[in-house]
Symmetry: C2
Subunit: 203 residues, 2 copies
């Protein structure tokens, strides 16, 4: 059995979207987390060792880190076509995007939000390189890996949508965010993201 520990409007929201894209049979367990505004608290039911989300339980096995959960869920559903076989060079490109998201894109965005990009030449160069990589891929488009919508679009697309105000002005980025929002699974995920009434009443 698959159980996703999820906090509404958080980093695990992208996994709710992925569950919908994959048609995965996955129970969503709504839980509390510490929020950046100081509200919330680690939920004792959440198995994540740092009290964060997402956390995925597959039977007794625990999977954490957004991109790891995303790749793993996608690997369970090859029929959904959101990834590539292990020996395909495109699999290598997909893995590059997934690790680039956590290793380059996210640190660049934090540096942009903290002001480091405006104060430090190294942070500026790193941010610029990340934006160039993103925009060049979308110039080819319509998805990061061309014609095929992949799990990289879920991971990176959700980050782009969330951090849109900290990314360059660009019709390419605007159109990408619109294409992502137009996906039926995206709309279903939005509807499923918030806590169901029985949870909201109990907490």
């Amino acid at each position: 059995m698959l159980t996703l520990f999820h906090a509404p409007w958080s980093r695990s929201s992208r996994l709710v979207w992925l569950v919908e894209e994959l048609g995965a049979d996955c129970r969503i367990e709504y839980c509390d987390i510490r929020r950046m505004d100081g509200t919330g608290a680690a939920d004792p039911r959440n198995p994540h060792p740092d009290g964060k989300v997402p956390a995925l339980l597959h039977d007794d096995a625990l999977i954490t880190e957004s991109a790891a959960v995303a790749l793993y869920l996608t690997g369970l559903h090859p029929e959904a076509g959101l990834s590539f076989p292990p020996d395909s060079p495109q699999r290598g490109s997909l893995l590059t995007w997934m690790f680039w998201a956590s290793g380059e894109l996210e640190p660049s965005l934090w540096n942009k939000m903290s002001g480091a990009v405006d104060a430090d030449a190294y942070a500026r160069a790193r941010y610029d390189a990340a934006m160039t990589r993103l925009l060049e891929a979308l110039w080819e488009g319509p998805w990061l890996m061309g014609d095929r919508f992949t799990v990289a679009d879920v991971l990176i697309g959700s980050t782009v949508g969330w951090a849109r105000d900290h990314l360059p002005e660009s019709p390419l980025l605007d159109a990408y965010v619109e294409r992502l929002a137009a996906r039926p699974a995206h709309a279903r995920a939005l509807a499923r993201d918030g806590a169901p009434p029985q949870y909201a009443e109990a907490s």
Copy 2:
């Protein structure tokens, strides 16, 4: 054909080690990079868009980001036993370690080296959580995932060895570094890491 773009004594050294662990048929292309001490320069022959290493070419496909290259190479060699099948929960644990390395361990180490861990409570908490996770796994041991040596030991083990002075005093960590160094593939990789004489003379 597989070609690994590698700079001696750099982050790509771990991939040379992995090539030896896997017995992969992979050509090593020695190249220059910008070093943290200000020496070196981006090598025009290196296809990495940011001039960094590692970069792997599989025919015409480019794979970058250390962990992506590591997972991809490992996926081409399932017979080496350094990973798990896509539908195995242990595959999920392995992916967690791989993304944890770039998302938590490496930022924690940079924060330790920069002094942020001593100055900032959030950085301290993150570093402590990372060290706890690492030490708990090695307490079970002998490898991060128990009895099976995996690609996570190559990725994280190489980081532990490189940053040993910035990690806690611990016989568990010392013994882990010794176990890694005792692997025949590790010794072969060390011998192959530096540029061969004909390259050193030409450059």
